[in-house]
């Protein structure tokens, strides 16, 4: 797909150009939304908000500053964080201080399908999930995450570690269940 061509057509308000862009990038943006959302319905809401912003701000995209895909990624991430900040819904989840030591191995991890990994990320507590995503996928430092989420840098570190532990345990559980399912089959 010629991205510059589509951007130009969108700027000229050409009918169908926006849909072409949506069809091309929506699956990727949906992955970002699913990583941050706790369930698919929320992810779909995020997807709509992200594309509404992308369409309204597409004039501001400067190809000299980077790829269009990177711009879309950045816009989507910031939009999702903004939606979380504006959300009055506060999800408070408590996890035990002592989590079982995860035994997930690298080999086992490679066997897990992508969709199940995504589901495991979605099941992380909201705060942990944001820190986890910003650190792992956006490459932010703990200081940046702390400032963005209005939490202490040390909180960001500890939430990341706890998120990784929870995730490993969830993934391990999935492998165990799959093993039982195979045996039962």
């Amino acid at each position: 797909m010629n991205t510059q061509n589509i951007i130009g057509r969108i700027k000229q308000k050409e009918r169908g150009a926006e849909k072409a862009l949506f069809v091309h990038f929506a699956p990727k943006v949906m992955t970002i939304c699913r990583r941050y959302a706790s369930q698919d319905a929320e992810a779909k809401d995020f997807l709509q908000e992200c594309f509404l912003l992308i369409f309204s701000k597409i004039d501001q995209y400067d190809s000299a500053k980077g790829s269009f895909e990177g711009w879309i990624h950045r816009v989507s991430t910031n939009r999702i964080l903004e939606l979380y900040r504006k959300s009055t819904k506060q999800v408070k989840m408590t996890y035990p201080d002592t989590l079982p030591e995860p035994i997930l191995s690298q080999e086992s991890f490679q066997m897990i399908p992508r969709q199940q990994i995504l589901e495991a990320v979605q099941q992380l507590p909201q705060g942990y999930r944001q820190v986890f995503n910003l650190y792992i996928f956006e490459g932010w430092s703990h200081k940046q995450i702390g400032a963005a989420l209005n939490i202490a840098e040390t909180t960001s570190r500890s939430q990341l570690n706890r998120a990784k532990r929870i995730l490993k345990n969830k993934l391990q559980k999935k492998i165990t269940i799959q093993g039982y399912e195979r045996k039962l089959a």
Partner: protein
């Protein structure tokens, strides 16, 4: 170490992963959402527009109602002249013919001999009548103390030889025979009535006649009085904020703010006022941080194996081993944000003394222009600092709430000029960020200011 197999594995599996999605259904949902009205944004606009309309209409209603010509009431004035005993008695009556005040002039003693035969026909005189006698009412149920300037024709009294030109000019007063005195009913104060050139008063020295005067008050006197009781000011102030917080970039911390305001203030009553002006605010922020670069190299004499014997001794086996070196670079940047805004403020004077008063005020400032001098850290370029010309931040329509308490001092020696000190807060209400950056914590500042204001 930031890198490990889990993090790498997650990135490999999920970055660039296309989620399964019913694209047609998702597009239809997006189109439907786009067609919905923007309720929240409209709500904001309604609040702002409504507030401005409320303030504007209050001001307009006030202006319209107070610019009307005051209702006039006729009060008859009776001048009782008796020359038999050489006295002239001026009597001021109210509308029900009750006595308001009277004054007796010792005409004979005050007048030179040559003018004793006067006939009160001022039209026949070559020069205007300029003699004025002050009559101060002894007991009048008026809200404002006042003095009356009553002209009596041809009383040549040195003490009373006050020209009425000034008073006439100030009050635009004229009198006509055969009519009544028109007074401002709103405060029922008779300021002045004067016999002027052109007045015909056909009086006999030994007879009693009733003269009726009328003020032709064109409203100027009322306007002068109103401007004294409902003041207007222009002022300028400078403020510094020792407590400021907020950020636009992720690692940013606001450190101080300064402001300067030029304003016009108009009282709508003795205690309530509106203020509009032009303000300049400047925030300075700091970004502090560090960035680490980790490199790995093979170095000799490294512990490559550790052997623990049964007796508990430990032997380190040395050889060429991997050494990780971390270089940490710290940086500190200062950014600045300037805003020009139009503040609209309503205030209440809560304590009012002769020379000092305290006011509380609150309102909203709308940014009409802004400029950003932003430096951004670029970790991909060895920690170099890039000057960012345009972060696509919002330049106008940034709304801020304003709250302040102001102490005014008007020393007698400075006449109309006064000084004031104020403490206040300014808090940004909406977001200035673009999608490249985001404004996590909107700017807030607690300001201490000093200023001058001049009473118009």
């Amino acid at each position: 170490m930031r890198e490990n197999w889990l993090e790498e594995g997650l990135r490999d599996k999920l970055e660039g992963f296309d989620s399964e999605l019913n694209l047609e259904e998702a597009w239809d949902a997006l189109e439907q959402k786009r067609s919905e009205p923007k309720g929240r944004r409209l709500g904001w606009l309604w609040i702002v527009t409504g507030s401005l309309l409320l303030i504007g209409s209050s001001f307009a209603i006030y202006q319209l109602t107070t610019n009307e010509t005051p209702e006039m009431v006729d009060v008859p004035v009776k001048v009782d002249v008796s020359n038999v005993i050489g006295q002239e008695k001026v009597v001021l009556l109210d509308s029900e013919n009750a006595l308001l005040t009277e004054k007796i002039f010792e005409a004979q003693s005050q007048m030179p001999e040559s003018s004793s035969n006067r006939n009160y026909q001022s039209q026949q005189q070559d020069t205007p009548i300029r003699n004025t006698q002050i009559i101060t009412p002894k007991s009048l149920d008026y809200t404002t103390p006042s003095s009356y300037f009553v002209s009596t024709p041809n009383i040549d009294n040195n003490q009373n030889d006050r020209t009425t030109d000034d008073q006439v000019t100030d009050s635009d007063v004229s009198t006509e025979i055969g009519q009544s005195v028109a007074l401002n009913q709103s405060n029922l104060v008779i300021n002045q009535f004067t016999l002027l050139e052109g007045v015909t008063a056909k009086l006999q020295r030994d007879s009693k006649q009733v003269l009726k005067f009328k003020f032709a008050n064109f409203g100027r006197q009322d306007r002068v009085k109103k401007s004294k009781s409902i003041p207007q000011f222009v002022g300028v102030d400078f403020g510094f904020s020792p407590i400021t917080n907020g950020q636009i970039l992720a690692d940013e911390k606001a450190i101080d703010a300064v402001s300067a305001n030029l304003y016009y203030k108009k009282h709508l009553s003795n205690s309530f006022y509106l203020k509009v002006g032009l303000g300049l605010d400047r925030y300075t922020t700091r970004i502090e941080g560090s960035e680490s670069n980790t490199s790995t190299s093979i170095e000799p004499n490294q512990v490559v194996e550790r052997v623990i014997y049964q007796d508990g001794t430990i032997e380190n086996i040395l050889g060429d081993g991997e050494v990780t070196t971390t270089e940490t670079t710290t940086y500190q940047l200062y950014n600045s944000y300037q805003f020009i805004s139009v503040p609209v403020v309503a205030g209440l004077r809560i304590i009012d003394r002769a020379q000092t008063n305290i006011e509380l005020e609150g309102g909203m400032a709308t940014t009409i222009s802004s400029q950003y001098d932003v430096k951004e850290y670029d970790p991909t370029n060895g920690g170099q600092v890039n000057q960012v010309a345009d972060l696509n931040l919002r330049n106008t329509s940034i709304f801020s709430g304003l709250l302040a308490a102001q102490w005014n001092y008007h020393p007698k020696s400075l006449s109309r000029l006064g000084v004031f000190m104020k403490v206040g807060t300014r808090f940004q209400l909406n977001d200035i960020s673009s999608e490249d950056t985001f404004n996590v914590d909107k700017f807030k500042s607690y300001q201490l200011g000093l200023g001058l204001q001049y009473r118009l």
